[in-house]
């Protein structure tokens, strides 16, 4: 399906960084996150019909691929690894911002998997609670609750 391929390319152009960040929140490894995106998009390219909400469908596919890869790899996760944020943030980043980035990356590690993933999906992937609920196949209330709890923990860690 040429049209679907074109649409997927557009989704990739628009959301690749956000999809990668969401996959990273699960795999905590850039290599595995890329593999998850690769697997998910290859599967999506062979679809016979276009999904109703393509954006949500792509996020869900990448998430499922990431979960599967983590399950298969069984690799131990380095909790101190600064993996979500770009370490080469550029010359305009002040020392204070660098420190905040480092502490935020650390603080994300102390959250539960659900809380961290929700924070990343809402704050960094710009998904609404409704979209996150569809991606995760959970209720909006549960998602909102994960987000509130995660944010409170981050606030406590970073503002103390």
């Amino acid at each position: 399906m040429k049209w679907l391929r074109h649409e997927l390319e557009k989704v990739y152009e628009q959301f690749s960084r956000r999809l990668f960040t969401c996959a990273l929140a699960i795999t905590r490894s850039p290599e595995l996150a890329e593999d998850a995106m690769h697997d998910a998009f290859c599967r999506l390219l062979s679809l016979k019909e276009t999904p109703r909400d393509l954006k949500v469908y792509v996020f869900r596919s990448v998430r499922n691929a990431a979960v599967n890869l983590v399950r298969k790899s069984g690799r131990t996760i380095d909790l101190t690894e600064d993996y979500i944020f770009d370490p080469c943030a550029g010359p305009r980043e002040t020392a204070e911002m660098t420190e905040f980035r480092r502490r935020a990356a650390e603080a994300l590690q102390i959250l539960s998997d659900d809380e961290r993933e929700t924070i990343v999906q809402h704050l960094y992937a710009d998904l609404t609670f409704r979209e996150i609920a569809e991606v995760r196949e959970n209720s909006i209330n549960t998602v909102a609750s994960w987000y509130r709890r995660g944010l409170a923990k981050l606030r406590q860690q970073l503002e103390e």
Binding site: R17, R18, E34, Y83, F85, L158
Partner: protein, 118 residues
């Protein structure tokens, strides 16, 4: 979204490697190279010189092509008409309307060529 959330949101995210797109869709790097060429700034002088050069090459190649392929059958043939009359007297030896006792001596060479098509 409060100030704390905005501060968190403003942190720059990691991004996937450049070749991931190519690995998924197959033709990413080609497009990237093409986009790089198209985005390169071009000086006006160079652009005009390039256009002129292309025009000249096109003109001369078209001319050469027309010379090579012109069919010979429609080219006009060379037509030459020669009429030489050599006579030793002032008489018109070709006036055969009257009786005459004079005859031309020597050989008379007459040639006729077709001038059709002019």
């Amino acid at each position: 979204m409060d100030e704390f959330e905005l501060r968190l949101k403003n942190l720059l995210l990691s991004k996937p490697s450049e070749d991931l797109r190519g690995r998924i869709f197959g033709r990413g790097p080609d497009r990237a190279v093409l986009a790089g060429i198209l985005r390169r700034p071009i000086r006006l002088g160079w652009a005009v010189a390039f256009a002129l050069a292309i025009g000249l090459v096109g003109f001369f190649s078209a001319r050469l092509q027309s010379e090579i392929t012109a069919p010979r059958s429609i080219s006009p043939e060379v037509i030459v008409e020669i009429c030489i009359v050599e006579s030793g007297s002032n008489r018109n030896d070709f006036d055969l309307t009257k009786p005459s006792t004079h005859f031309l001596s020597g050989d008379l060479t007459v040639g006729v060529e077709d001038r059709r098509g002019i």
